[in-house]
C-alpha cells in the first residue's frame, strides 16, 4: 500500500501509474517476442547473441532512435515501421526502465488508430489468400494484398461477384510471346530499345525475363486462364477469398 502511494505520488495519479504498469507489461511482452528472440538479445535485457541492454545508461530518446532506425552493419533491424505505434512506445519504455528510468514517457501510447479487424469468412479468406501449404498455387504468388504477396499483377481494383466470375476473369494484358521458337503467355512490363522485359506465365511462379530488341514476337490473346492459376482452391474457398477482398479492396 505504501509502495502504491509512493508510485501515485511519483506519477501524479493512481490511474496513470496503473496505465504505465500496463504499458510496461506490454513492452515486456513485445521485448520477449521481438528482441530477446532467436539469436538476438537475452531475456530482460541481458546479453544474448546481441549485446546487453540493461543498465547501460541509455536514455529514452537514444533507445527510440535505435529501435526506429536499427544499427547498420549489425543484426539490429529497424523496427520503426514493423511494430505498431503502441508496441513501439511500450518496448522503448520497457528498455528505458531497464536503464534506470522509472518514469518513461508513454504519452504516444495508443494514439495510432488500429487497422480494421477482419473477421469471419473474410478472415478465413485472408488466410487462404496466402496459405503457405498451397505452395505456388496461392493467390499471393501473383497478387499483393494487405502487405502480403508478390505484385506480379496490377493491384486488384474491382472484386468479382462470385467464384465463377473469378474463374472466368479475362486477362487482356496477357499476350502470346514467341521467343527462340517457343510460344508462351506473357505479361509485358516494358518494351524499348533495350529490349523487352516481361513475365513468363507458363508456370507458377511467373518469371521476369529480359530479351534483346526484336527477339520476342508478341500477339494478342493467350492460352493463359485465371481458372487454371486458382485451381488449388474450391468454390467455397474462393468465396471466402472474395469476402476478404471485398473487405480490403477500396474501389
Amino acid at each position: 500500500m505504501k509502495a502504491l502511494a509512493a508510485m501515485a505520488l511519483l506519477f501524479g495519479g493512481y490511474s496513470q501509474a496503473q496505465n504505465l504498469a500496463d504499458v510496461l507489461r506490454q513492452g515486456e511482452q513485445v521485448f520477449a517476442k521481438s528482441c530477446s528472440a532467436g539469436y538476438c538479445h537475452g531475456v530482460r535485457g541481458n546479453a544474448g547473441g546481441a549485446p546487453r541492454l540493461a543498465g547501460r545508461g541509455f536514455d529514452q530518446t537514444y533507445i527510440s532512435n535505435v529501435v526506429t532506425r536499427g544499427v547498420p552493419g549489425t543484426g539490429m533491424a529497424p523496427f520503426g515501421t514493423t511494430l505498431t505505434r503502441s508496441d513501439f512506445v511500450a518496448v522503448v519504455a520497457y528498455v528505458a526502465t531497464l536503464n534506470g528510468n522509472s518514469a518513461p514517457d508513454v504519452s504516444d501510447f495508443g494514439t495510432a488508430t488500429a487497422a480494421p479487424t477482419i473477421t469471419g469468412e473474410a478472415a478465413r479468406g485472408a488466410a487462404l489468400f496466402k496459405e503457405a501449404v498451397r505452395g505456388f498455387g496461392r493467390c499471393a504468388t501473383c497478387h499483393e494484398v494487405g502487405g502480403f504477396g508478390i505484385p506480379v499483377a496490377a493491384p486488384i481494383a474491382t472484386v468479382p461477384s462470385s467464384a465463377a466470375a473469378l474463374k472466368a476473369l479475362a486477362a487482356p494484358n496477357v499476350k502470346s510471346g514467341t521467343i527462340d521458337g517457343e510460344s508462351m503467355p506473357v505479361l509485358v512490363l516494358s518494351e524499348g530499345k533495350q529490349g523487352t522485359v516481361f513475365y513468363d506465365l507458363t508456370a507458377a511462379p511467373p518469371v521476369q525475363r529480359s530479351a534483346g530488341p526484336g527477339s520476342v514476337r508478341l500477339a494478342n490473346g493467350s492460352t493463359w486462364r485465371h481458372s487454371s492459376a486458382i485451381g488449388a482452391y474450391n468454390d467455397a474457398e474462393l468465396g471466402a477469398i472474395l469476402a476478404y477482398l471485398r473487405a480490403v479492396v477500396k474501389p
Binding site: 532467436g38 539469436y39 544474448g48 547473441g49 552493419g73 503457405a132 513468363d200 511462379p205 525475363r209
Partner: protein
C-alpha cells in the same frame, strides 16, 4: 573374372575420386559437385608456401556485412558476390573488373539474414539467390539481367536465400533459411534456361505423404527444417544430396512430437537429416535422420562430401556428413546405409554417446522451467563454413569450436514467419580451457582424429585443401594461414587486415596457381554471439578478396 572386377572397381573409383578435384577452374561452391573443397593444383606446396605473396586485392565496397561468399572461377574469370548481392566479374589473374551488377536492395525492414554465401555459374549465366527470395540470372559475359523469379514472400515466410545454388545439368537447385521461424523449409529446382520452377521438395511431408505421421497434429505446417546451405550431386547416380535444418520449435518439442513416439529414430521427418533426391524430379530416394527430435538447434544443413573409400574391406560409394552437433556420419550414398559415425567436439554433454549403429545415447534435453547448460552450442561444433577433404591424405579437415549455451525453453505458440526457437540460449565458454577451437584432421572411415591444431578464439571460415599437401583457412584476428595437411604444422601466415568468416579457393590462370580468400568478420548471428564471449576482442569488418601466388619467376 575376379581380376577384371577388381580392375573395374579401381577405375570407377579413380573416376569418382577425380570428380572431387578442381583443376584450373573452381566451378562450384564446394569446388566440384562432390564438395571436397580440394584443388588438384600443387605448384604451391609445403616446400615453397613460405614465399606465398599477395598478387592482387579486390574491395567490394559492401561493408554492411563481411564477404562470406565462395568465389567461382571459370576460364580465367572470377565471379564474386558480396553480402548484399553485388555481383562482380573479375579477371582472375589481375583482379580487373569486367562487369558488375547490383541487385536492388530490399527494404531494411525485411527480416532475416544479410549475407550471400555464393553464386553458381552455368549455361552462360551467373545465378544467385537474395535476401528477398529472388533467384536471379545474369548474362555471364555482360552481367545483364536475364531472368528473375521470387520464390517466396519474405514478409510472410521470414525466410531468405543466403546459400549458393548448386547447378545440376539443366537446373539450378537452391535451399532457403527460415527454419528457426514458423516456416516449412524446401529445396527448389529451376531451369537455368528460363527460371521456371522444375520441382520443389518440401522437407516436411504434407498430409497423406509418408513421414507426415512423425509430426503431432498440424505442427508440420511450421516445423522448420529449412535446408539453408548447398548440397552435392553424383552424376552417375543422378542423385542430389542435401542436409536439412532443425525442427521448429527449436528447443521445445511438446507440440511437434506425437505422443508416445520413439525418439530413437525418425521423429519430425525429414528435419536434421541428410537426404538423397532424384535430380530430375526432386523425389526423395532415401533419408538418414541424424538428430531425431532435434531439441538443440543442431541443423544438419551442412555440406555433403561424396567420397569413394574402402570401408571394412569393401569399396564404397560413400558420403560424409556433419551436423551442428559435430556428429559426422559415413553413409553409402547409393542407399543411405549407415557405415560409421564419429563426434568431433571435445566438450559434449547433449548426449553421453552413440551406439555402433548410430543411435543417440543419454539425450540431455532442455527442460521447461529450467536452465540447462548444453554443449556444443547452437552455433555448432562447426559453423556453416565448410570442411575440406584431401584424397592424398584421406583426411577431412574440420574447424571445430568448443562452446556451450544455457538453454531456457518456452512454449510460445507459432506465428508464421516469426521467431520460433522458443528459448533463450546465451552462449558461454566451457570452463577449464584456454583455447576454444581447433583445426582437426579426421579419418572419416576410422573415425579417428589424426591431428589437431588449437586456437584461442573461434574458427569460422571454410577450409581449403590442395594437392600441394596444404590446408588453408583464416581466423577472426585476420590471420590467413597454411597448415601441413599431414601433420597440422603451421607453415605460413599472412595478416590480411580483417577477420575471416568466408572461404578460400585455389585456381590457375596461364599456369600460375592462385589462392584466394575472402576477408571481413561479421557481427550478426554467430559472429555477434562469439564476440560476446570475448569482450576484449573487436574483430574487424571488411569486404576484401585477397589473392596470393608465388612471386613471378620463382616457379
Amino acid at each position: 573374372m575376379r581380376f577384371s572386377l577388381a580392375l573395374l572397381l579401381t577405375i570407377s573409383s579413380a573416376l569418382a575420386q577425380d570428380a572431387g578435384v578442381t583443376r584450373a577452374d573452381w566451378p562450384h561452391y564446394g569446388g566440384t559437385q562432390s564438395s571436397w573443397r580440394y584443388s588438384g593444383l600443387d605448384q604451391i606446396n609445403t616446400t615453397n608456401v613460405k614465399s606465398l605473396t599477395p598478387a592482387w586485392l579486390f574491395q567490394t565496397g559492401d561493408y554492411a556485412e563481411n564477404l562470406q561468399a565462395t568465389p567461382i572461377v571459370t576460364g580465367g574469370v572470377m565471379y564474386l558476390i558480396s553480402a548484399r548481392a553485388r555481383v562482380f566479374a573479375l579477371d582472375a589473374a589481375t583482379g580487373s573488373l569486367i562487369w558488375q551488377y547490383q541487385h536492388p536492395e530490399p527494404p531494411a525492414t525485411i527480416r532475416g539474414f544479410v549475407g550471400s554465401r555464393g553464386l553458381a555459374v552455368s549455361d552462360g549465366k551467373v545465378i544467385f539467390g537474395t535476401k528477398d527470395n529472388s533467384m536471379v540470372a545474369l548474362d555471364q559475359k555482360t552481367g545483364r539481367l536475364m531472368w528473375k523469379v521470387i520464390l517466396d514472400d519474405t514478409r510472410q515466410c521470414g525466410c531468405n536465400i543466403t546459400a549458393a545454388p548448386l547447378v545440376v545439368k539443366d537446373k539450378v537447385i537452391v535451399g532457403g533459411t527460415g527454419g528457426d521461424n514458423a516456416h516449412r523449409g524446401y529445396i527448389t529446382a529451376l531451369f537455368t534456361k528460363n527460371g521456371r520452377v522444375a520441382w520443389r521438395w518440401y522437407v516436411i511431408p504434407g498430409p497423406g505423404e509418408k513421414g507426415n505421421e512423425t509430426w503431432k497434429g498440424d505442427s508440420w505446417i511450421f516445423g522448420g527444417g529449412s535446408p539453408w546451405l548447398t548440397g552435392s550431386y553424383d552424376p552417375a547416380l543422378n542423385l542430389v544430396y542435401w542436409g536439412t535444418g532443425n525442427a521448429a520449435a527449436d528447443f521445445y518439442d511438446a507440440e511437434r512430437v506425437p505422443v508416445g513416439a520413439d525418439k530413437g529414430k525418425d521423429v519430425n521427418l525429414y528435419t536434421a537429416s541428410v537426404v538423397a533426391l532424384d535430380a530430375d524430379t526432386g523425389k526423395l530416394r532415401w533419408h538418414y535422420q541424424e538428430v531425431p527430435d532435434d531439441l538443440w538447434d543442431y541443423d544438419s544443413s551442412y555440406e555433403v562430401l561424396l567420397i569413394d573409400r574402402e570401408v571394412r574391406g569393401r569399396m564404397r560409394q560413400a558420403l560424409v556428413h556433419m551436423n551442428k552437433s559435430g556428429l559426422t556420419v559415413l553413409l553409402d550414398r547409393r542407399t543411405g546405409e549407415f557405415l560409421g559415425i564419429f563426434s568431433v567436439p571435445e566438450v559434449r554433454n547433449w548426449i553421453t554417446g552413440v551406439t555402433e549403429d548410430g543411435k543417440l545415447v543419454g539425450r540431455n534435453e532442455p527442460q521447461m522451467g529450467k536452465t540447462t547448460t548444453l554443449c556444443p552450442s547452437a552455433a555448432g561444433a562447426k559453423s556453416w563454413n565448410s570442411t575440406a577433404y584431401s584424397p592424398r591424405t584421406g583426411f577431412l579437415y574440420v574447424p571445430v569450436n568448443e562452446m556451450c549455451n544455457d538453454v531456457t525453453p518456452n512454449d510460445r505458440p507459432p506465428e508464421e514467419g516469426r521467431d520460433f526457437m522458443n528459448a533463450a540460449f546465451p552462449f558461454r565458454l566451457p570452463p577449464g580451457r584456454t583455447t576454444y577451437s581447433h583445426v582437426d584432421a579426421w579419418d572419416p572411415v576410422t573415425g579417428k582424429r589424426v591431428w589437431s591444431m588449437p586456437y584461442k578464439y573461434v574458427l569460422l571460415a571454410s577450409m581449403l585443401a590442395t594437392a600441394g599437401d596444404l590446408v588453408f583457412t583464416g581466423n577472426p584476428e585476420g590471420e590467413f594461414f597454411a597448415l601441413d595437411a599431414k601433420s597440422g604444422n603451421k607453415l605460413w601466415t599472412y595478416q590480411t587486415g580483417a577477420g575471416h568468416r568466408g572461404a578460400s579457393i585455389s585456381y590457375s590462370v596461364n599456369g600460375r596457381q592462385y589462392i584466394a580468400t575472402t576477408t571481413g568478420f561479421h557481427r550478426t548471428v554467430v559472429g555477434a554471439l562469439v564476440l560476446g564471449l570475448f569482450p576484449e576482442q573487436d574483430w574487424r569488418l571488411g569486404s576484401t578478396l585477397v589473392v596470393f601466388a608465388l612471386p613471378e619467376g620463382s616457379r
